[in-house]
Amino acid sequence: MAELRAQVREHLDSGAFEVPTLPAVATQVLAMVEDEDSNAAQLAALICKDQALATHLLRLANSPAFCGVTRIVSLQQAITRLGMRAIAELVVTICMQGSVFSGRAYRALIEELWAHALATALFAKEVARQQRHNIEAAYLCGLLHRVGMPIVLKAVTDLCPAKALPEEEQVRVVLAELHVSAGLQAVELWGLPSQVAVAVKDSERYEQAQDHRNLAAMVHLSSALASTMLRGGEAELSELPVLEELSIYPDNLSELRQHEERIFAAVAA
């Protein structure tokens, strides 16, 4: 175990390891949303260039987390209905799933990590809404707070021959130990906002956060809500110290949990 950990750490730190790059379309979409001169038609045109992305986006836009009563059938309609920022969120989400939360080995583990990331992001929006915090930032932070895990997983599979992959339990321990530094590396490489770095670095121990402590605590709670929804363990949720940090009373917690069904359906989509 120690040997595996040391090897992976060395590989991550070496110039040989390549942090996955975000597809150009993700950064282009994010830039377009911030450009006041851009419009829905331009955004639709950009997304249409990538047929797989456009298809995936429509599927996700029709999932219960985003969709209203009417079914969305076109990209233009999706942008009109959901707004450019929501579309940007979806594009980043899809790109993240396709380029970072992917790989041939440890399929079940990757799917588990992805489900947790997406559920955390969707819960983070609701926690932020309740806390009167920025909703877009919370989503991105929730989605990426453990982005180092699939990156470490990639490093493991890079290092080990396909037929000699370590046991999943061992890998989980290594992911837990190394994901923060790998995540921070990625956040820097992708040029993401400082809030995302805080989510990666401090969401597990929000009380240590130097800046954006409230955001780190919100992601911590959202992650716990996601874990509870995906794996159970309701009793522990009401005992979390982060509830005191955020002054979330039992009725506030119940309100957040009312989103479970919708978020679960979105994750399954």
Binding site: E34, E36, A40, I79, T80, R81, L82, G83, M84, A128, R129, R132, H133, N134, I135, E136, A137, D211, S238, E239, P241, L243, E244, E245, L246, S247, I248, Y249, P250
Partner: protein
């Protein structure tokens, strides 16, 4: 009598905002055992964490921008559309943390016990405190002070989502400065935020039913604010009623007025009043009466309909100013402890942190005329004083209101930089019964804006109606 597990205190204060703090500290100074119950983990209430202090921190940046523009007409100063709002409040965490730390230190220093939880009455002098985690506490107290504050009103026809359509609690959560913003309401909060965002380069449209913003202020002051506001490409729509507010799902909040006009904005701030935080207090269990507007009903000493139970601050309604709330808390506790309250002052200054700021104390010209049949007024503009020229704040104005003989000061009204500080001269003059001649006979520092008092007094004494 206390039951098993019930804690007894001499004084229990619900809420840790300005009003609650002063009440608690006064009680501790009076030698009482005090508990403060606050629903949030941090001390300070909305004033520190969501209202006054964060908005004033953002305002400081806006003021710097205004000063730069004023000082360098040749420069074209504009905010980058991608400017993060958080970067405009660089010292916010530092300011709120140090303020909260200071207040917490003050409570500790006075041995005031601080409990995080939601309090609700179970009887006239008994409370149940629901903790975030764990079992509820039972607390009895001889004196209870309610200082739970207020929260933004959410009109049923405005779909506030805290993302595109925001209220005063969520407005500062925006990451990026919008290019345009619609503001519903023209009261203090609406006008202050409208002025701040307008100064930061956001095209702001205020929509209100009233003929002018800040209708309770001296009309000349609000007219002055309105002129500066509209000079910066922002707009005030008077006498307007809203038919519909929708987020178009793309990029715009679309507001349709009853007149048929459609106003578009990237974001909307809904600031149509605040409601008292009484929900969950279970006032019925104590028999505490409320007003028709939902505030807690109190007498001149801020005592509620239940003896020994007091209410202070926003929860009792206007003036709902932090300054007045603090005094209410202090005086309520003095009354509760049977200590002399001193002379009550009716001369509470009002400070509005618009850009430019404005401040008033005493009667307006219309109020003085209504109350005394006639009055005399005098004015001075900041362009008449050297300090106004030096600071290039020549648009400011000071107005004095006196009795019909031009002798007794009745009110003062100022618009322009520093007016919220400058007003205190008039406040002291009112309290100590200064004559208008007193402003002429006394000497102020040179060059200061205070000289405007002397000029306004001379203007008043030269009024044609005194000749």
């Amino acid at each position: 009598m206390s039951g098993k597990g019930t804690q007894h205190f001499d004084v229990a204060v619900i809420g840790s905002g300005p009003a609650g703090q002063k009440a608690a500290i006064q009680a501790a100074k009076g030698g009482r055992r005090v508990v403060m119950i606050e629903r949030e983990r941090r001390v300070g209430g909305s004033c520190v964490h969501r209202g006054t202090i964060p908005s004033k921190t953002l305002r400081e940046t806006a003021l710097q921008l205004v000063a730069l523009r004023r000082g360098g007409n040749q420069l074209s100063l504009q905010m980058d559309p991608n400017t993060e709002v958080a970067t405009l409040m660089t010292r916010l965490d530092e300011v709120t943390d140090s303020h909260a730390r200071f207040m917490r230190g003050h409570l500790d220093h006075n041995s005031i016990e601080f409990i995080t939880g939601r309090a609700s009455f179970t009887g006239p002098h008994s409370l149940r405190v629901q903790r975030v985690r764990g079992e509820a506490l039972q607390i009895n107290a001889d004196i209870i002070v309610v200082g739970t504050g207020s929260h933004p009103r959410k009109p049923p026809d405005v779909p506030i989502d805290h993302e595109h359509i925001l209220d005063s609690d969520s407005i500062l959560s925006m990451i990026y400065l919008p290019t345009s913003m619609t503001v519903l309401g023209a009261g203090v909060i609406a006008s202050e935020y409208a002025a701040i965002f307008s100064a930061l380069g956001v095209k702001v449209t205020i929509i209100d039913k009233g003929p002018r913003p800040l209708a309770f202020m001296e009309p000349e002051l609000s007219a002055h604010f309105l002129k500066e506001f509209e000079d910066s490409e922002s707009r005030y729509i008077p006498g307007a009623s809203i038919k519909e507010v929708v987020w178009d799902g793309l990029s715009t909040v679309r507001t349709t007025l009853e007149s048929g006009e459609v106003i578009e904005g990237d974001k909307m701030l809904c600031a149509l009043g605040r409601l008292a935080n009484v929900e969950g207090l279970n006032l019925e269990a104590a028999g505490i009466a409320q007003t028709a507007r939902g505030h807690i009903q109190v007498n001149a000493y801020c005592e509620t309909s239940v003896k020994g139970v007091y209410a202070v601050g926003d929860v009792i309604g206007p003036p709902a100013l932090a300054s007045a709330s603090m005094e209410q808390g202090r005086r309520a506790m003095l009354h509760a402890l049977g200590l002399p309250e001193g002379t009550s002052t009716e001369h509470i200054p009002v400070g509005i942190y618009t850009i430019p700021e404005m401040s008033s104390v005493g009667l307006t010209e219309a109020q003085a005329t209504e109350r005394h049949g006639a009055c005399t007024v005098g004015r001075a503009t900041f362009s008449e004083v050297a300090r106004g020229q030096i600071s290039n704040d020549r648009g400011g104005m000071l107005k004095l209101v006196a009795d019909d003989k031009g002798q007794r000061l009745l009110g003062a009204h100022i618009v322009g930089g520093g007016s919220c500080e400058l007003i205190h001269i008039a406040q002291v003059a009112l309290i100590s019964g200064w004559s208008i001649q007193g402003f002429v006979d006394n000497i102020f520092n040179f060059p200061t804006l205070a000289e405007a008092y002397r000029i306004a007094a001379l203007n008043l004494l030269n009024s044609p109606r005194l000749k």
